[in-house]
Symmetry: C2
Subunit: 202 residues, 2 copies
DNA sequence: CAACCGATCTATACGTCGTATAGTTTGAAT
DNA sequence: ATTCAAACTATACGACGTATAGATCGGTTG
């Protein structure tokens, strides 16, 4: 809280927030520690003390991102009933999170920019996964699934929404600015789970 | 071919190949132009002339990667019959490509490192997509699908294998070195298309 | 055959970056 | 009041991407 140059209290969080703000307008790769430090009003050497280096700062940002994503996945379900609908909403929320803050989302999974072995990071990134898992587990027909099948569905669903997000953000599915197309494609995709089996039945 | 310092003929391709080799042992982010130039035995300013800059070189590598991926997706189907089996094999091939050369695969979709608007790049990255599309189109029951449904299935499938690849490579699904787990998870996932509808039926 | 010329590559320089290190300041405990 | 660890600054260093001017080559033209 203190505005003194030294010991201003929560520089760490300030730096994380500054990085998050920068991520709204530019990708992780083009963000420099010096730029973050300047925004926070500290010397460019300060971040290293709190985070050990650039990877450390990015890791802290990624951790916050995973917590934020997990929360978003939980919040999208308030007042939503029906197993199918709940799964559908969760998928939409995952994609929405990624699309609304592309750079924030991307840094969360760009392990070569992070201290991927950091315990807090591995713990944090397990949260969205467990929310998805619980969501699937709650679905009515999931009771018939054994642990391995449940995990298969989890991986399949997670992969689907995650892959869609990245493919969309990188322009592989069409113009990333075409929100109408995004709406259509994401719904078609989430709905195609009931279409896909036609293929399996040859 | 000439070993003279000047005009050695195909420096461009030499640089691309050198980059590809580096990608076997380190991620794109940690590769420097100067390092690539040194391997190719040229001055560190040379790459800029051929590719305009780092992004240009990476774009050339990404283009080669997409061609390579498209070829892999085609080659995996020789002698494989049955619509379901062919789709299955294509999915496996996509994942295999990504897992065998993680950095090569990742640079292909890391648009912030590339000249994403480059025509040759956008053309090249459309190839794997069209191979997938044809594969789906060839499946027996796909005849019943209209254009939009077909596209929905394409996006769903592509998203699934692509997302799985990235989640796996970033360690989100388990130890990336556990090949047995990879085998199990990928098969479970690809097979879960017939399990998923249970969820939709509530 | 000789002069030329565009393309290819080198040499050099510049600003920015991440990081390491030594020094300075602060708040709190003794 | 003094001490001390933590927080932050100041400085320096090597590596990087890029721009630019110069050197060198192959091929073409007269």
């Amino acid at each position: 809280m203190a505005k003194n140059q030294y010991h201003h209290g929560d520089l760490a969080e300030t730096l994380v927030k500054a990085t998050r703000d920068l991520l709204r307008s530019k990708p992780p790769t083009s963000i420099s520690l010096r730029e973050v430090a300047k925004i926070a009003g500290v010397s460019h050497g300060a971040p290293a003390h709190h985070f050990g280096g650039k990877a450390g700062l990015f890791t802290a940002v990624a951790i916050a991102g995973h917590h934020s994503l997990a929360t978003a996945l939980e919040d999208c379900l308030v007042g939503v009933s029906g197993a199918e609908k709940r799964l559908f909403e969760t998928g939409k929320a995952y994609i929405q999170f990624a699309v609304e803050q592309p750079a924030y989302f991307s840094i969360m999974f760009q392990t070569e920019l992070l201290n991927a072995e950091d315990g807090a990071y591995t713990t944090a990134r397990a949260k969205p996964k467990s929310v998805l898992r619980q969501c699937i587990k709650d679905s009515a027909s999931a009771e018939r699934l054994d642990e391995r099948q449940l995990n298969g569905v989890l991986v399949a669903l997670w992969s689907q929404v995650h892959g869609f997000a990245q493919l969309w953000l990188t322009g592989n599915l069409g113009d990333p600015n075409d929100t109408a197309l995004l709406q259509q494609l994401s719904l078609d995709m989430l709905g195609s789970l009931s279409v896909a089996p036609h293929i399996n039945c040859e």
